[in-house]
């Protein structure tokens, strides 16, 4: 039996929360981020504003705004971005390829997906670095599987 509708609009092309919840979320680099667990709706405007992602038992979840979603496909949700929080735990190399430490935490600009600073835990045999080092995003050359800086370890210690 056909369902009755009093929407006032054509809603044939709309999707439901069932089309979102439980789907894999894939970032702009094709990495699996987690599973969509909540659909976020603005209380006043009642517009869809984003999704909440479950990243598993060990890792804390993340909320992604609508503007960062590329498309909701049949089997997954694709993001337009690479989630900056995924930088945590990556190795940090200086300009010369010398291993300096691992990313322990990050600062971002407000609620944007943009890194302000990274906090690096130095490797144990790293000479003068004893505590957590704050590195500005300006010194980051590339972020991929790991992080490569555009300065050498010696130059960084002077700054």
């Amino acid at each position: 039996m056909q369902q009755k509708s009093i929407s006032g609009k054509k809603i044939n092309k709309s999707i439901t929360s069932e089309d979102i919840l439980g789907k894999d979320v894939i970032d702009a680099e094709g990495a699996f981020i987690g599973v969509a667990e909540k659909v976020l709706i603005d209380q006043k405007s009642m517009d869809f504003i984003g999704i909440s992602i479950d990243k598993g038992l060990i890792r804390s979840g993340i909320t992604i705004g609508k503007s960062y979603i590329d498309k909701i496909a049949d089997h997954a949700i694709f993001l337009k971005i690479r989630v900056v929080y995924d930088i945590k735990g990556k190795l940090v190399f200086d300009k010369d390829g010398k291993k300096m430490g691992t990313v322990s935490s990050i600062d971002i600009y407000g609620k944007k997906n943009k890194i302000k600073n990274i906090y690096m835990k130095p490797i144990s045999h790293s000479f003068f670095f004893k505590k957590i080092i704050v590195i500005s995003a300006d010194y980051i050359e590339t972020i991929g599987d790991n992080v490569i800086l555009n300065v050498t370890m010696n130059n960084l210690s002077k700054k």
Binding site: G30, D96, G97, G144, D145, N146
Partner: protein, 150 residues
């Protein structure tokens, strides 16, 4: 001499990809006997088990600590997931086909749990990174093992 690098010290040093992935260690440094210039390196490691030659044109930075490449090594996409534009995982890369000895991809042979190996040309690939995402128009010619060859 300050601006030169002691090649002897480079042996067993790390080779990093453009994105900082440790792809192996330098086992040999190859020099041209004609112009005496550094031509490339032979690397080996946990990921690259058989020695692999990387030409100088793929170097981005060379120091006494490491060699940083200007590429992501295409052969390392083996075992990565292949996802179609609808987000469905259609298999994993079983074999990488390159254009000759270059780093450019020609395509990949993919296999899933129940399917036979099938080839996906580079023209059908949207991008390669943490996984391989296919273009929207790609129509997989997946053959299951119970299907006969025509």
């Amino acid at each position: 001499m300050d601006k030169t690098v002691n090649l002897k010290k480079l042996i067993r040093k790390k080779v990093l990809s453009k994105g900082g992935k440790i792809i192996g260690k330098i086992v040999q440094i190859r020099i041209s006997p004609i112009n005496l210039e550094l031509e490339g390196i032979l690397i080996k490691g946990k990921i690259i088990k058989k020695p692999m030659y990387i030409g100088r044109s793929y170097f981005s930075h060379l120091s006494q600590e490491a060699v940083i490449l200007n590429i992501e090594v295409s052969v390392l996409i083996k075992d990565k997931q292949v996802i179609n534009s609808k987000g469905k995982i259609i298999g994993r890369v079983k074999e990488v086909v390159r254009k000759g000895t270059r780093n450019d991809l020609k395509g990949v042979h993919v296999r899933s749990f129940f399917s036979r190996k099938f080839f996906i040309p580079v023209s059908e690939i949207e991008y390669v990174n943490k996984s391989i995402i296919l273009k929207p128009k790609y129509n997989a010619t997946k053959k299951y093992f119970w299907q006969k060859d025509k």
